[in-house]
């Protein structure tokens, strides 16, 4: 069907189809391939729309085109209601994007979650990220019932059991196991600091194959954490992606610091933003500087860009920091049939040509 040469990590039979399974890979997705090849990966977070319009999702994904290896579909982050991660993944996988589906334990119990994992894997979601989720009090519907039936650790273990042992938590057999690459979140910037590296070890033991961190604005702290992670020998078993993002202004930084739990922003960062003429530009610069420092740390396999409401800067940030080293991640291109239509659209719309077979035969005869 595709007449153009297939891109790297693409199924020639169709962009939406899973890739050839490779030995040692647990998923058939693109992100795992990039990471296992040893390339520096870039993932980004899609701001989920408050709408039932598929086009909104596509537009938001299109700004990442050719710049990221995976798109995180968040599951009501901050306990604010948006389009579900499963819905976003359903739309994006159809278009061939590599999605990272987040599952938060806050909203669904183990029955619902296991069902969603199967559904997602069947749709071609290659990566699942297991989170605990923020408390309901943080979001727009504090009256909701917090579920927290599983926690991130037991969720990881559940999905791993489903994948590797081909059975539900109850022990009932699956006829096809979900082939997914398992992710988790880490936050090296929250107490108890001594426990954090051990907690990563615990997550790896439970099944995590890659982790994405909370926003990093304090590189020395991350360096310290990574030193302990290396000492524990964890970097061999897990890919670590560091969360980064531009701050829009000093005011936002201060707001985030006091209102978003788990984000640590040192004073020096706020000062630097305050001192700048164009705070937004400086926020972007700061983000690029952090990326440049972070990519040098031993054991970091990539970055996760969370540019909330500034998604259009992701491409710039990735480009200017040069983390891709000239590599171009998979990019959505129109399929052969769509390209054909686009090419002829002018003709179809404006030349008033009748293309009904009957007329065409008549025309041919009359000539």
């Amino acid at each position: 069907m595709t007449t153009r040469p297939p891109q790297i990590d693409e199924n020639p039979a169709g962009v939406d189809l899973p890739l050839e399974p490779l030995p040692g890979h647990s998923s058939r997705g693109r992100l795992e391939r990039v990471l296992r090849r040893g390339e520096f990966a870039v993932t980004a977070e899609l701001n989920p729309p408050d709408s039932a319009n598929a086009q909104d999702v596509y537009e938001r994904a299109a700004v990442f085109d050719g710049w990221v290896d995976g798109i995180n579909a968040v599951d009501a982050s901050g306990a604010n209601c948006h389009m579900s991660s499963l819905g976003i993944c359903a739309l994006l996988t159809r278009m061939g994007y590599a999605t990272i589906m987040q599952i938060a334990c806050r909203d669904r119990n183990r029955i619902a979650i296991q069902g969603d994992v199967l559904g997602a894997a069947a749709m071609g979601v290659g990566n699942i990220m297991c989170l605990t989720g923020d408390g309901v009090q943080a979001g727009d519907q504090p009256g909701a019932k917090p579920v927290f039936d599983l926690d991130c650790m037991s969720l990881l273990e559940t999905v791993r059991t489903m994948r590797d042992e081909e059975k539900f938590l109850s022990g009932r057999k699956l006829s096809t196991a979900p082939a997914v690459f398992l992710g988790a979140a880490i936050n090296p910037f929250a107490p108890p600091y001594d426990f954090r590296p051990l907690r990563l070890a615990k997550k790896i033991a439970a099944g995590a194959q890659f982790v994405q961190s909370q926003y990093c604005y304090d590189v020395p702290m991350l360096t310290e954490y990574m030193k302990r992670v290396r000492d524990l020998g964890l970097i061999e078993n897990c890919f670590i992606l560091v969360g980064v993002g531009p701050l829009a202004s000093a005011k936002t930084a201060r707001w985030i610091r006091s209102n978003v739990p788990g984000v640590h922003i040192p004073d020096s960062v706020v000062k630097r933003l305050e001192g700048a003429e164009n705070q937004k530009q400086e926020g972007k610069r700061l983000c690029i500087d952090i990326i440049n420092e972070v990519k040098e740390i031993d054991g970091i396999s990539g970055i996760h860009v969370m540019a909330y409401r500034q998604e259009e800067y992701v491409a710039e940030i990735v480009h200017e920091s040069g983390v891709l080293k000239g590599r171009r991640p998979w990019m959505r291109e129109a399929g052969a049939d769509d390209a054909l239509v686009a090419e002829r659209l002018d003709h179809i719309l404006h030349d008033n040509a009748s293309e009904k077979p009957v007329d065409m035969v008549k025309n041919a005869n009359s000539e």
Binding site: C105, G139, M153, A206
Partner: protein, 200 residues
């Protein structure tokens, strides 16, 4: 779509959460504690004491478990089901006082530094969430020290200080409001019988 977009960028960023928070102030009665679970809890002075004395309590519990196991013939004679009620009564009050126990029926206090994980608003049993505040307090309830920060402190003082690293199974909700003491004893007795059975 484009009109929509333009509106979004020009209007100041008022999120739904902000609106809800503003409206909350206007409600007639605003409860002081954040989660309903918190309203059931005692003050945490005793909990903090228990965590500080985790090593001592670990020792006490080991003796206590042995004693319960020794009483196995007795429990068997009156029947575990019949013993359940009175034992549960005692367990609820003793553990309730010391740990603010939530009677999940599958006690993991020995692996959590004697800090009951069911008091965490997210009921995490495998370690702290990512939202712990810089001062070590809970993300959900700013006035409460995070259960898991305390658990880590407690675990450091204990003999089995690596028990906190074990991955815990999800809570079996069907065991709530049952006695963990009796279950552990019955299991241990069963195990003892099995091992002695294979040895003989």
């Amino acid at each position: 779509m484009s009109g929509n977009e333009a509106q979004k960028t020009s209007a100041p960023a008022v999120t739904q959460a902000t609106l809800v928070k503003k409206a909350r102030g206007k409600l007639a009665y605003k409860p002081a504690d954040v989660s309903p679970q918190r309203r059931l809890q005692r003050r945490y002075t005793m909990r903090l004491w228990s965590v500080r004395h985790a090593r001592f309590l670990e020792w006490v519990y080991a003796r206590f478990a042995d004693l319960f196991l020794m009483l196995h013939p007795f429990w068997n004679a009156i029947g575990y089901a019949r013993a359940e009620r009175p034992v549960k009564f005692v367990e609820r009050h003793v553990k309730g006082l010391m740990f603010d126990c939530r009677m999940c029926g599958q006690c993991v206090l020995s692996s959590t530094g004697m800090s009951c994980p069911m008091n965490c608003p997210k009921q995490l049993r495998n370690g702290p969430c990512g939202g712990v505040r810089a001062n070590g307090h809970c993300e959900v309830e700013p006035d409460m020290p995070c259960v898991w920060v305390k658990a880590w402190e407690g675990a450091q003082t204990m003999r089995a200080n690596d028990a906190i690293l074990a991955v815990q199974k999800p809570v079996d909700q069907s065991l709530r409001e049952t006695s963990a003491w009796l279950r552990v004893t019955a299991l241990a007795a069963h195990e003892r019988k099995n091992t002695s059975g294979t040895a003989a």
